[in-house]
């Protein structure tokens, strides 16, 4: 029976804890809820006075999925999905390869390479946009999805830090054991380390998959022929949002 006082104190603490969490979640989701609610609104343009739409309707979704001359959401979705899949495969491979090489292999140029990677990360990405565009143009890859994939994933090896941090916490004894069993480095990589790295692989896959959906600056610059069927979702959305949220007219 002496457990009871502790129980109520714990109970109160638990309730507060959960109330706090619910509050946080609510704050975090408010704009998303607004987004979803507005998408069901029949009102064209920006409603500034009501949080929830005055008139609920599915008309915006109808408009979205019926391709018209410009807004072709299904095509955009497929384009972006294609690019994202390819991108996530390449990026994950590159990131894991670089992280493994810098964490497990000891070679003379390891530290210099790592320092170089740090230095390269210090330059702002938007600086070299125009040069990347002309490199792609020289390769004939502007206005192609392959070009987009390259832009998003070719330099992904530079983002190896988190994966390397994870690999650093893997016990070296495992590698030693594998070596004693006669496995080559390649074998160790494929059969021992990769199965152990599931959380980091998931993280890398998710973050690299999301990149093409979110970027519109590079996408807009590379897909510049004006053929809207080639666009990715981000270009299309940016175009639409530009018109809907700030009605740029003339």
């Amino acid at each position: 029976m002496e457990k009871k006082p502790i129980n109520t104190k714990q109970l109160v603490k638990d309730i507060f804890r959960h109330v706090f969490i619910v509050l946080m979640v609510a704050v975090w989701l408010v704009p998303i809820v607004w987004l979803v609610a507005t998408s069901f609104s029949a009102y064209n343009g920006r409603d500034m006075t009501n949080f929830f739409p005055q008139e609920w309707s599915l008309i915006q979704y109808q408009k979205l999925f019926t391709p018209d001359t410009v807004a072709n959401f299904p095509a955009w979705f497929m384009n972006t999905f294609k690019v994202a899949c390819a991108c996530c495969v390449v990026s994950t491979l590159f990131t894991l390869m670089v992280a493994y090489a810098t964490s497990f292999c000891d070679f003379k140029s390891r530290k210099p390479l790592m320092n170089l990677a740090v230095i390269l990360n210090l330059f702002p990405g938007v600086l070299s946009m125009i040069a990347v565009y002309f490199i792609l143009k020289a390769l004939g890859l502007t206005n192609t999805h392959l070009g987009l994939i390259l832009v998003y994933s070719a330099a992904s090896g530079l983002g190896y830090l988190i994966a390397k941090g994870f690999f650093d916490t893997v016990p070296r004894a495992l590698c030693e054991a594998a070596k004693l069993d006669g496995a080559s480095q390649a074998r160790t990589f494929i059969s021992v380390i990769i199965p152990l790295s599931k959380p980091i692989i998931v993280y890398t896959i998710i973050s690299s998959f999301l990149v093409p959906w979110m970027d519109f600056v590079y996408a807009k610059m590379i897909m510049n022929s004006g053929i809207s069927d080639m666009w990715t979702v981000s270009i299309g959305l940016y175009n639409m949002l530009d018109k809907a949220l700030i009605n740029q007219c003339h």
């Binding site: 500034m48 070679f107 390769l139 004006g226 809207s228 175009n239 009605n247 007219c249 003339h250």
Partner: protein, 433 residues
């Protein structure tokens, strides 16, 4: 280490080989290379057109008509989407990858010409035009309104074909404001206040704010080296000082019935129903009709008092132009297409589809077109509509100045206003960095 370098080297060179083969001074722009010397009969002419999103269906029709107008020639014409107000950005990033024919707003003309993106319509073009379309450039110039042709001209040469008038004027709700009250800012604002509504205007914009100064006789000009000259901190030829104009603007902005509108937000403010008058253009005609009924009125901007002189409300005249890419692979045919897309029938078709005021004089005098509220407003304003000529350094400083007026952060005594104007002019006329 050596092997990384070796493999990397091999692959880099492979890529540059690919680049070498595809990199010639005139990169592919989607056309089939034919043998020179044919009068356009054998080969297919490949063209790309860029137009606004709302124009896509219209452009498809017009392109079909173009093909029928020149049956001896086979075409392959692709239509792409490009915002007219942002055309310059995409074109200047890579001129050779831009479309052969594109629509743009006239304020982008100087930049496009400087970058070599617009084909000069000179005697050669004139000859080609006469050869195929049986009309000369002078005919085109005479067919369209003087202001529109002026906006497409730089240093005496024509660089594009005008097809639509795009300036701003004032819409108002006749149930709140009477035609007399709309004539000056003072009466307009008082009437709005008693009606419980507001008057909206964008001040933080080099396009709208300039109207106050141009109306008073001040000017801006684009110099040959790309800098801008501006005289707003002095006295205009009509005897009004820049200080007086600014003080008048400050007074207008401080009035409780005045609502400064964020550039581009006019439609939303109109829809909110809190306005009874707005400085806007044809793009808002439909919204005005929805909000205020079909009886809504369009007229010129109100006048204001600068010192003891009454200054008519000025506005910047703006037009939409159809230009030809100087780096196009088929400049001749591109020019013919551009001319076709902006001739009288096309302008009429455009008006029918989208109620865009034509610049073609004959089309505009058609009774149905002439009765259009947007056309009426533009016509009323045209007496005080000025072509704007300004360089790159003009826009941001003036935008900020307009915002300061809108927020009232400039004190209205003479010294402060003069100082603010001097800062503004210093920024605008600065040499290019």
């Amino acid at each position: 280490m050596k092997k990384i370098l070796a493999m990397a080297l091999a692959l880099v060179m492979l890529f540059s080989m690919a680049a070498c083969s595809s990199n010639t001074p005139t990169p592919s722009n989607g056309s089939n290379e034919g043998q020179p010397g044919n009068q356009g009969s054998g080969e297919t002419v490949s063209l790309r057109v860029w137009g606004a999103e709302e124009d896509q269906a219209l452009l498809k029709d017009l392109v079909e008509k173009f093909k029928q107008a020149y049956p001896d020639q086979t075409f392959d014409i692709q239509i792409g989407v490009e915002s007219e107000s942002k055309a310059k950005d995409d074109i200047l990033t890579d001129v050779t990858a831009a479309a052969d024919v594109f629509a743009f707003a006239c304020d982008q003309l100087p930049d496009l010409v400087a970058a070599g993106a617009l084909l000069k319509l000179d005697e050669n073009m004139d000859a080609a035009l006469q050869n195929y379309a049986k009309k000369s450039l002078d005919d085109v110039k005479n067919e369209n309104s003087q202001g529109s042709v002026g906006s497409a001209t730089l240093d005496g040469s024509l660089y594009a074909f005008p097809f639509s008038a795009d300036g701003y004027f004032m819409f108002y709700d006749p149930s709140v404001i009477s035609a007399d009250q709309a004539k000056s800012w003072d009466t307009l604002l008082d009437a709005a206040q008693s009606g419980g509504k507001k008057v909206g205007m964008t001040l933080a914009s080099g396009w709208y704010l300039a109207g106050f100064y141009y109306g008073a006789g001040f000017t801006t000009a684009l110099n040959a080296d790309g800098t801008t000259s501006m005289d707003w901190n002095g006295t205009s030829p009509s005897g009004v000082t820049g200080t007086q104009v600014t003080q008048a603007a400050l007074k207008i902005a401080a009035h409780p019935a005045f609502m400064p509108v964020v550039d581009g937000d006019s439609s939303n403010q109109l829809k909110s129903g809190s306005l009874c008058a707005i400085i806007s253009g044809c793009w808002d005609s439909q919204v005005a009709a929805e909000k205020w009924g079909e009886g809504y009125m369009a007229c010129r901007l109100p006048s204001f008092m600068a010192g003891d002189k009454e200054v008519p409300g000025g506005a910047v005249a703006s037009y939409k132009l159809m230009g030809v890419n100087a780096h196009s692979k088929n400049t001749g045919w591109a020019m013919l297409l551009a001319e076709f897309l902006s001739n009288e029938e096309s302008q009429v078709a455009r008006y029918t589809a989208r109620q865009l005021p034509p610049t073609n004089i004959a089309a505009a005098s058609d009774p149905a077109v002439a009765a259009d509220k947007g056309v009426v407003g533009l016509a009323d304003q045209s007496e005080n509509a000025y072509l704007q000529s300004a360089g790159g350094k003009y826009w941001d400083p003036v935008k900020s100045f307009g915002e300061q007026i809108a927020q009232g952060t400039i004190k209205s005594d003479d010294a402060s206003v003069q100082a603010a104007l001097d800062d503004l002019v210093a920024g605008v006329t600065a040499p290019l960095s």
